[in-house]
């Protein structure tokens, strides 16, 4: 297993290099000019050219790429073209909200979705199953921002229990941290609860038809043990896959939730950087996201082996 993990980690290097080259090339081929943002709306061509020169954007693309790779090899992601602050610092600052939102959402999702999926499988075809699956369809169908605004209207404006927006780090205290995360986590969880509950249900139903389940029942094993110990454990592989994809997309792509609740996370940073053509920030973020996806895939693969002893690498 350890040698497998080491091989997979080594395999990330060519992937990251490929991502770096592609992202760098695509960004330079996309229309847009960071110098124009820096100079303001009424800058003349001569003023823009002067700023491009001071940013090094007048250099040939291959020279810009060599310069960037040189920085990367020294562990430096560069500085933002607009604010002049370090990209690594900007990413580090935005990691907290995204990470907190992702972890919170996954915890709430697992706490709610797994039991719902198990119950639905257990009561397959019954009223409870249909109710849970109807809820699941609702969770899929209603866009996250609609759920978000409804929650704000109810809990912030109506009941005045929770703030509308913002983020405080855990260092500011547990409650200031938690009170600003409750609504975004609930809003974002809806879709993941729906997804994971459905996957859990169908995976368990599939496993429940297997011979070993029949054998367990014939041996007189209680139904809850059959469900949790035998069925859920064997249905874990697809569930873990979906959770893994969910975690990765939660860290990198929850722009709408971050926007509605004004959370200064990585998703918003990507959008801001793309709109401003802040190349070093976009490049740094894409590299980070690639790394997150690769590592989460690795963790998921390792978990397969943990849950299913038949899988060996």
């Amino acid at each position: 297993m350890l040698s497998y993990i080491a091989r997979r980690l080594l395999a990330t290097i060519p992937v990251i290099i490929m991502v770096a080259v592609v992202v760098f090339a695509i960004l330079r081929l996309t229309p847009g000019d960071p110098a124009a943002i820096l100079a303001g709306d009424d800058a003349t061509s001569a003023q823009l050219a002067q700023i491009r020169q001071s940013m090094g954007l007048d250099q040939p693309i291959y020279l810009q790429f060599i310069h960037w790779v040189g920085q990367l090899l020294h562990g430096d992601l560069g500085v933002s073209l607009l604010s002049g602050t370090s990209v690594a610092g900007m990413i580090a600052h935005r990691m907290g909200p995204s990470f907190a939102l992702a972890v919170g959402t996954i915890i709430v999702t697992l706490i709610i979705a797994l039991p719902l999926g198990i119950i639905a499988a257990w009561k397959q075809g019954k009223l409870l199953d249909r109710a849970i699956m109807s809820f699941s369809v609702f969770g899929f169908s209603v866009p996250t921002f609609v759920v978000a605004y409804l929650l704000i209207y109810l809990f912030s404006i109506g009941l005045d229990w929770l703030p509308v927006q913002g983020y405080k780090p855990l260092s500011a205290g547990f409650w200031p941290f938690a009170e600003r995360l409750i609504l975004p986590v609930l809003a974002l969880s809806a879709i993941y609860i729906a997804l994971i509950a459905r996957i859990t249900r169908s995976s368990i139903i599939e496993v429940m038809g297997e011979d070993f389940i029949r054998t367990a029942r014939a041996k007189g094993v209680k139904e809850n043990v059959v469900l949790i110990h035998h069925a859920l454990r064997n249905a874990a592989v697809p569930i873990i896959t979906i959770i893994g994809i969910g975690v990765a997309s939660l860290i990198s792509g929850v722009v709408v939730t971050e926007t509605v609740f004004n959370l200064p996370g990585l998703g918003r940073l990507v959008v801001e950087a793309v709109l401003a053509r802040d190349y070093p920030v976009i490049q740094g973020l894409i590299l980070l996201f690639s790394l997150i996806y690769i590592l989460i895939n690795l963790v998921v693969d390792v978990l397969y082996a943990v849950f299913d002893p038949r899988i060996r690498y």
């Binding site: 229309p31 943002i37 820096l38 009424d42 900007m90 704000i152 209680k222």
Partner: protein, 532 residues
């Protein structure tokens, strides 16, 4: 079985619910009583107010820097950092003496050398400053607090430039900072203004914190626009960025923030009539919106085709679609804006009402051959996304072959620099808007410059306008200046240098806890008080 299931699954649910419930019972921590939290129109990313003309950076400049002169709501210039000043009989030598007690935020006194260096850096970038420097023979320090500006010819541009309200105002900085080349951003943010920049709390694009400059000595006159006493009554001002304006409106209603700089027109019903919120237009001069032809390429390289388009496009149609509520817009043909000293109504028959019949006649006369008109259509900026659609519809009615090219604003800014024909990715028309405080005369209003390929995108070539702009620089008599700007107005409309689309104001909204909120074309936080 159910019991065991509960043990397995219900435990964590209960724990989570208990954590939430117990947390809900705790009272939320009150915000700092004397901190004003404001949602600005965009996030601050570029912090050098000389490098960029971005309004958010200009507003940041007014927080931490001061200017030698300010302008009041009657467009009258008043000394600000300057205490005494005089001009020689030949009107060529200006002597400025700084007020007593002026200090930089690091405690050092403000000196003449600092001001001279700041003027030099500002003049390298600013349009008025660039013209001014061709007239300045010398700038020299007489002593630590007194300096002279010696002109080759008398001009009012010196005081007007130093009192410039909007981008770029002539902000004063310590010499070591002002010596930074004008094409490079400054790295240190030390001013002498009423607030200090809290660098440790600055998060680019997200949050900026300013604290009261306790050493600031305000003038004794009442505050008006950028002139008068900049008296600070709060301890801190915090600017936060909220990309979703509904969230900002909800946060204001919920008492989480105190101020929204610009409320989108469609959200006004959410805030108007609420007990705890006041909606008010603070920039009463407001903005003007306009479109720009590409004078280098067909079909708008033909003056008759430009005029046909100007007859086809009606301001009322654009403003209705863009703003909606007539309380916040008005039609105006003046290229220097209605309500400014150089307002002129010439061309109102051409630009205010749509006249498709006249447009068709002109197109026929121009032998328009159906050459494609590419209108750049940015979709990510609400105040620039509507005009192209309405313009396209009007031009189609007149018989133009119109193509709307959808893009984001950044792509537009990059493409509009292209002087290529439409067939090679060029453009024909784009729309934008500016604040009138930055557009009220032939130097501040960069859309008027008509020096061909050296001009702003669109590149109109009207030598007489350039000659009139030079004349304006040396005209010190108001009547003469009005005559010059009236002639520029006529040329600008007749030649299709710029197509005015009318004026609009954007209201601000703030908590009723705030008082002393000043009306000004730039957002300022002095004079503001916050009830506990």
């Amino acid at each position: 079985m159910l019991f065991k299931f509960k043990r397995l699954c219900a435990g964590p649910i209960l724990a989570f619910s208990a954590a939430c419930a117990s947390a809900l019972l705790l009272a939320s921590a009150p915000a700092g009583a004397q901190t004003v939290t404001a949602v600005m129109q965009s996030g601050l990313r570029v912090t050098d107010p000389i490098l960029t003309t971005a309004y958010i950076t200009r507003n940041h400049g007014y927080m931490i820097y001061d200017t030698l002169f300010g302008m009041d709501s009657h467009f009258k210039i008043h000394p600000q950092m300057v205490g005494k000043w005089s001009v020689s009989d030949d009107k060529k030598t200006y002597t400025f003496t700084l007020r007593d007690g002026l200090k930089w935020h690091d405690g050092a006194p403000v000196t003449s050398a600092d001001c001279i260096a700041s003027i030099k850096r500002w003049a390298q970038k600013d349009t008025t400053g660039q013209v001014l420097m061709t007239i300045v023979a010398d700038m020299k320090a007489v002593d630590d607090k007194t300096f002279q500006v010696i002109l080759k010819k008398p001009t009012s541009l010196l005081l007007e430039g130093l009192a410039k309200v909007s981008s770029r105002p002539a902000f004063m900085m310590p010499k070591r900072i002002a010596d930074t080349p004008a094409s490079q951003p400054i790295k240190e943010f030390i001013g002498s203004g009423p607030f200090k920049f809290v660098a440790s709390e600055y998060k680019p694009g997200l949050r900026v914190v300013y604290e009261k400059n306790k050493d600031y000595v305000p003038r004794s006159e009442p505050a008006s626009w950028t002139a008068g006493g900049k008296v600070v009554h709060v301890d801190k001002v915090e600017w936060v960025t909220m990309p979703d304006q509904i969230t900002a409106a909800n946060a204001l209603l919920n008492g989480e923030i105190d101020y929204i700089e610009q409320v989108p027109f469609d959200l006004l019903p959410m805030l108007k009539g609420r007990d705890n919120v006041k909606v008010e237009v603070l920039d009463k001069l407001g903005n003007w919106t306009y479109y720009r032809f590409n004078h280098l390429q067909a079909p708008f390289d033909n003056k008759l085709v430009r005029q046909a388009a100007m007859y086809a496009i009606g301001q009322e149609d654009v403003l209705k679609a863009m703003v909606g509520n007539p309380e916040y817009y008005k039609t105006c043909a003046a290229v220097f804006g209605c309500g400014t000293p150089f307002a002129s109504s010439y061309g109102k028959d051409e630009v205010i009402q749509s006249n498709i019949k006249k447009a068709k006649e002109l197109l026929k006369k121009a032998h328009y051959d159906g050459a494609p008109v590419v209108i750049m259509h940015p979709t990510d900026i609400a105040l620039a996304s509507v005009q192209p659609v309405v313009i396209a519809s009007a031009l189609r009615k007149a018989g133009f072959n119109v193509k709307l090219k959808t893009m984001d604003w950044q792509t537009l800014v990059s493409l509009r620099d292209s002087q290529k024909p439409v067939s090679e990715g060029g453009w024909s028309i784009f729309c934008s808007y500016s604040i009138l405080a930055a557009s009220g005369d032939p130097f501040n209003n960069t859309t008027i410059a008509s020096n061909g390929k050296k001009a702003w995108a669109g590149w109109p070539d009207v030598p007489e306008i350039e000659s009139l702009r030079r004349k304006f620089a040396f005209a010190t008599d108001m009547a003469e200046r009005k005559a010059i700007t009236a002639r520029i107005q006529k040329l600008a409309i007749d030649e299709g240098v710029i197509g005015p689309l009318g004026q609009f104001v954007v209201p601000a909204a703030y908590s009723t806890k705030l008082s002393g909120v000043l009306s000004s074309p730039v957002t300022v936080f002095w004079n503001m008080k916050k009830a506990k």
